[in-house]
Structures are given as C-alpha cells and as structure tokens.
C-alpha cells in the first residue's frame, strides 16, 4: 500500500493513467446501468404488448383457448417460455387440461402480475364476445430473463470497451511522457564532466521551461566549476614564486660552509621542498587537464606516442635505475594520435611515474602501445602490489592513496590520468597484471584515434 501511495505521489504517468481510468469508469458505470434498465423496461413493455397481441389474435380468429401443443413446445429447450392462453372460469371445469393454470376467476381486466402457487405470472385479461374472459400470460421469471438478456446486450459493448479504453489511455500517457523518460536517460548517460546544455528544440512546449531551467542551472554549475578550476590554477601559479625563492634559499644555504650536522638537517628540508614543487606541478597539470573547453585547433597535432614515451622515460630513468627497475616498451608500429601534446605527455608521464613509484626494487615495468583502426591503446603493467578491486574507483579521487602504501607521490597522478582520458573521450581499465593472482597493476587506456 505504501508502494502504491509512493507511486501515486511520485509518478505523473501513473497518476494520469489512474485518474483518466477513474473518470472513464465514473462515466461508463452510470451510463451502463441506465442503459441496462432502460433496455430491461423496454423489453418488458414489448412483452406486455405481445400478450395483448396474442389475446387480440385469439379473439379475432376465435381460436380455442389452449396452451400451445406440448409436443411441439417440448422440443424447445426452455419450455417455461411458453405463453398460456386460457378462459377464466368460475369453477375448475375449464381446467380439465392439466396444463392450465389455476387462476382466480375474479381477476380484473388488463395487464397485471399475479402469483399462481408461488410462481409470479404476468397476465393480460380481456372479455370475449361470448362473455367469457380470456387470460393470456407468461411467467415473470421468463420475461425478466429475456429482458435481462436484452439489457446485458446493450451493456456488453461498455464492458468490452472500457478495459480497452483504459489500456489505450495508459499507452497514450506513457507515449506522451516518453520525451521526459528519454531526457532523463540522456542526462544519466552523460559523464560527470559533461555539462553542455540540453537540447531545447525538439521537446514539447510544456517541458521546455523545465529544460530551460535545467540549462540555466547547468550554466551556473559550469561557471562555478570554471571559477574553481581557475582558482586552483591561479593558486598553484601564485605558489610558484615563494616556493622558487624558498628552494633557491635552501640551495644557497647548501653552498655555504655548513657543519656536518647542519648539512644532514638541510637534506630533508630540500627533499621536502622538492616534494612541494612536484605537488605544485601536479596541481597545475590537474587544473589544466580538467579544463573542459575544446582545445584550440592550432594546438592539436599528430602526436607520436613513441616520441613522447621516449622523453618521459628519459626523465624517469634515473629514478628507475636507482631502484633497479627494468623498463621495457613494446610497440608494433609508429602509434600516433591527434591531440594536444601537453596532454599526452602528462598522461604518459603520470602512468610511468606511478608504475615506477609502486614497483619494488628489482621489479619491472612494461609499456605496450597498439594502434588499431580508430583506436589507440596504451598499456602499462608493473610488478608492484596492484590495486584491489574495492579500491579501483577511489584511486582516481584527488589525494587518495591506497591504504598501506608509503609512497610520497602527490596523490594526483591517477586523477590527472582520468581527466585527460575523459578529455580525449577514452576509457580506463584497471586490473591485476595476472588474472590468476592479486599481483601487479595493469592499466589499459583506450583512446579513439
């Protein structure tokens, strides 16, 4: 019942169908009842007329007043539908025929309903020319049954048509509301960065104001997101100068004659500064990669993934070699992609950095590039601990680190990867490097070429 109430209050379609059906029923039931009774009465009147006509026929032809032949009527399935014709007699002499009714002799002339025994009869009594009185009658029950049949026949179309009408109303209501369902599907299908306005042209006039409001809201959201992105970029930018000054001061300090103890304390300070610088760069990259605006055509070129990979590996090689991590690349042919080079560099740099960072010393990192018609895939596989299934959604959140990992990365790497892949309309898949053991991470990125 609660479910019904919820549907009633929530679903416009359900409400509309329900109320239209109720209105149809409210109209149809009285109409049906009225037509039933009018047909019923009309049938009764008709039967009364029949009795009169039978009487007139008997009198004009002077036929013997007898019940129709039993043998003839006996074949009829329903021999109670018979019409009796008999002379009312003061005594029972006229009733020698055992089929005749025991009718009181003092019945008044005209149409009337009389109980004979316990059975009600409808009788028409008329005096004959010879002074006798003729009674023509029929059982009320039989008459009523015939009248009921005729009444039901008039109601029958209503009974058949009402369910069809209700079904049609439901279908029509659903059809009318289909644009709304389609709209919500369209909104559901969008990814979370997609805040383009909805199509206002091809919708019904009644829905357009709603879409207009949604679009205005989307615009405000977009402005808001832009402001946030700009703030992030500006903040990171503004931090550059003081951080530069700080790290230069630390370098200057390192260049002076320091006691061994001071030197030992300066080292972590400079490492901390380097980490801050790295974080700042990642923040700027993230802000840039989240910029949803279409890139200027002049900045989109055919980027060679091998060339980018080479540059990235050149930069990461010192870290990899320090940890004895073997980096290998597999690519069948030259793989290129139309994109902004800065995006591809940031994408591949973060993939490789991540892989090197989370691979224990002595491990290896494999990079595979494949080009198929319309699709470019980048696969990075490492021999690190991998990411458990439960963590695979969350690792893309900014600053999220897998519990238990002691890496001093910025926590932005995979967020950057995700934003860039979204910008390039691609897909990311995370899995373990081997299907049989929870070991290693394999990131597969598929980009439409």
């Amino acid at each position: 019942m609660d479910g019904f109430k919820t549907r009633l209050s929530r679903s416009l379609q359900f409400r509309l169908s329900l109320w239209l059906s109720l209105v149809i029923l409210a109209m149809a039931v009285p109409a049906g009842v009225y037509s039933f009774y009018s047909a019923f009465h009309e049938a009764n009147d008709l039967q009364d007329d029949q009795l009169r006509q039978v009487a007139a026929l008997v009198l004009s032809r002077d036929l013997p007043p007898a019940t129709p032949d039993r043998r003839a009527t006996g074949k009829m399935k329903d021999d109670e539908s018979k019409v009796i014709v008999q002379i009312l007699a003061p005594a029972q002499n006229a009733g020698a025929d055992d089929t005749s009714l025991r009718l009181p002799a003092d019945l008044p002339d005209g149409i009337q309903t009389v109980k004979v025994g316990h059975v009600p009869w409808r009788l028409f009594v008329k005096p004959t020319a010879s002074g006798q009185r003729l009674a023509v009658g029929q059982q009320t029950e039989v008459r009523d049954e015939i009248a009921r049949d005729s009444g039901l026949r008039t109601v029958m179309p209503f009974m058949v048509l009402i369910p069809i009408l209700i079904a049609l109303v439901s279908i029509m209501v659903r059809g009318m509301l289909h644009p709304i369902a389609r709209l919500s599907q369209e909104v559901d299908r969008r990814d979370d960065q997609d805040i383009r306005p909805l199509d206002e042209q091809h919708v019904a006039d009644e829905i357009r104001p709603l879409i207009g409001s949604i679009n205005r809201l989307l615009r405000r959201v977009a402005d808001n997101m832009d402001a946030q992105r700009r703030f992030l970029a500006d903040a990171a930018h503004e931090l550059r100068s003081p951080l530069t000054a700080l790290s230069l001061q630390a370098e200057n300090l390192a260049a002076t004659d320091l006691s061994p103890a001071s030197k030992a304390r300066l080292l972590p300070l400079r490492q901390g500064l380097n980490r801050s610088k790295a974080l700042l760069e990642q923040l700027l990259t993230l802000a840039r990669s989240q910029n949803t605006g279409a890139p200027q055509a002049s900045q989109v070129t055919q980027v060679s993934l091998q060339a980018v990979l080479r540059r990235v590996v050149e930069d990461s090689l010192p870290l990899a070699q320090a940890n004895q991590i073997d980096i290998g690349v597999e690519a069948d042919t030259e793989v290129t992609l139309a994109a902004q080079e800065v995006d591809i560099v940031a994408l591949i740099r973060n993939l490789i950095d991540n892989a090197i960072r989370y691979t224990p010393p002595g491990g290896n990192v494999e990079v595979r590039l494949h080009a198929q018609p319309g699709l470019v895939s980048i696969e990075v596989e490492d021999s690190g601990p991998g990411i458990r299934e439960a963590e695979r959604e969350r690792v893309f959140d900014p600053f999220y680190r897998v519990p238990g990992s002691d890496q001093d990365g910025s926590g932005l790497g995979l967020s950057i990867v995700k934003s860039i892949v979204a910008r390039l309309h691609g897909k990311i898949e995370l899995r373990h490097a081997r299907s049989d053991a929870p070991y290693g991470l394999k990131i597969i990125i598929r980009l439409p070429a």
């Binding site: 003081p242 951080l243 530069t244 370098e251 260049a255 900045q299 090689l317 980096i327 690349v329 597999e330």
Partner: protein, 220 residues
C-alpha cells in the same frame, strides 16, 4: 660574468642574487621593465635574466624594445608562465632560452653558460656527459684518462648520443645520423656499432632501454 637580473619578487631576487654572487658573477638587480631597459642601454652585460610578470612593462615589452634597439644582449627568460604560447612568444621575440619557476640554481647557471657560449660562437668542441669526452676533431674518445680512437660510423653514433646526454635515440634516429641519403642501411648495423663501442669503452658506456632505443647516461 656580469648579469642583469630583472625580477620584481623580492624573495626570488634576493636568492638568485646571492646564488649568482656565490658563483662569482657580478649582479645588478632591477625591479621593473623601465629600469631594466635603461640599465641595458647604459651598461654592458653578458646576460640578462628576465622575469615576464613585471610591473609597468612586462617582460615581453622589455624584450621587444631591447631587440628594436638592436641590443643583442643574451636574454634568458625566467618565469612562472609555462604555457607553450608564452614560451614560443618569448623565443620569437628574441629570447635565447627559457627557464620555468621553480628551477634549480644549477640549471639556471648551466643555461646561462650555454647562452653566453653560443653567443660567443666558441661552443666547446669537446663533447662530454661527465665521464666520456669526445673530441670531434680527432674522433678520439677519452674515458678515465685513456684515449681511444673510433671508426667514422662509431664516431657518428656516439656523437649523436652525446649531443644530448640522457636522451634516448631510436634505431631509426641513429640510422639517420650514421647513414647518408643514398647509403644502404645494413640490418643490425646499430647493434653492431654499439657492440664495438662497448668493447672499446666498457659495457656501461651506452645504455639500452628496451623497445625505445639507446642513450649515454647524464652525469651531474
């Protein structure tokens, strides 16, 4: 050398000035574009370190006017602006190099030296990554004080790698450097040459990165 430092940020200016003085350079520090132009016009410097985000006239304006007055003072842009357009704009206006904040002082000093050297036209003929020294005039390579002569192709290959120590060159790129346009490229030629260089200079002299190519490591 004598350096004109144009920087409006006090902290960075202080730090750079101190580092440059530690490196035995003479430093004049100005805080805005107008002062930079008048200093460049009246004094003779070896290099200008130019910040782009300056009050009154920004770095681009300073650079434009400097070049309009036919002043060929080497200019190294030092800025927090890392957009590609900014870099291209700066270099097109006649900057000699570009350093992005935050930077390491060591890198800035190295780039200053390179800019000045290029300007003087006496690029150091001996190429080195810190442990290998290659003299293009004699095709002699020196490792740990021991000199070895290289064949013409071995020299071309090592020369290509030493142009940018730490950079990975693909097989195709190396073949392009070793062979002329009309020469038939033999298969495995690159591996063969690298094998013979390693035999002369030690196995660690040229490093292979699987699937990408070869490099000589960069030693700081």
């Amino acid at each position: 050398m004598r350096v004109l430092l144009v920087e409006d940020d006090r902290m960075i200016g202080d730090a750079v000035q101190m580092a440059l003085r530690d490196a035995s350079h003479a430093v004049d520090w100005v805080h805005d574009g107008t002062a930079a132009l008048s200093a460049a016009a009246s004094e003779s410097y070896d290099v200008m370190l130019l910040d782009l985000g300056l009050p009154q006239q920004d770095g681009f304006a300073v650079l434009r006017q400097l070049r309009q007055h036919s002043n060929s003072l080497p200019v190294l842009i030092v800025t927090a602006r890392d957009a590609v357009e900014d870099r291209i704009g700066g270099l097109d206006l006649g900057a000699d190099d570009y350093v992005i904040k935050p930077f390491e002082m060591g890198e800035l000093l190295a780039r200053m030296r390179a800019v000045v050297r290029r300007k003087a036209g006496n690029a150091n003929p001996v190429m080195s990554n810190g442990s290998l020294f290659l003299d293009p005039s004699t095709r002699e390579v020196t490792v740990d004080g021991i000199a070895t002569r290289l064949s013409a192709r071995e020299f071309s290959l090592l020369h290509a790698l030493l142009l940018r120590p730490g950079a990975i060159l693909s097989r195709q790129e190396l073949e392009d450097r070793i062979y002329g346009w009309n020469e038939e490229v033999e298969s495995n030629a690159v591996e063969f040459l690298i094998h013979s260089i390693r035999k002369k200079l030690g196995a660690a002299s040229i490093k292979n990165v699987r699937g990408l190519g070869w490099m000589v490591s960069k030693q700081d």
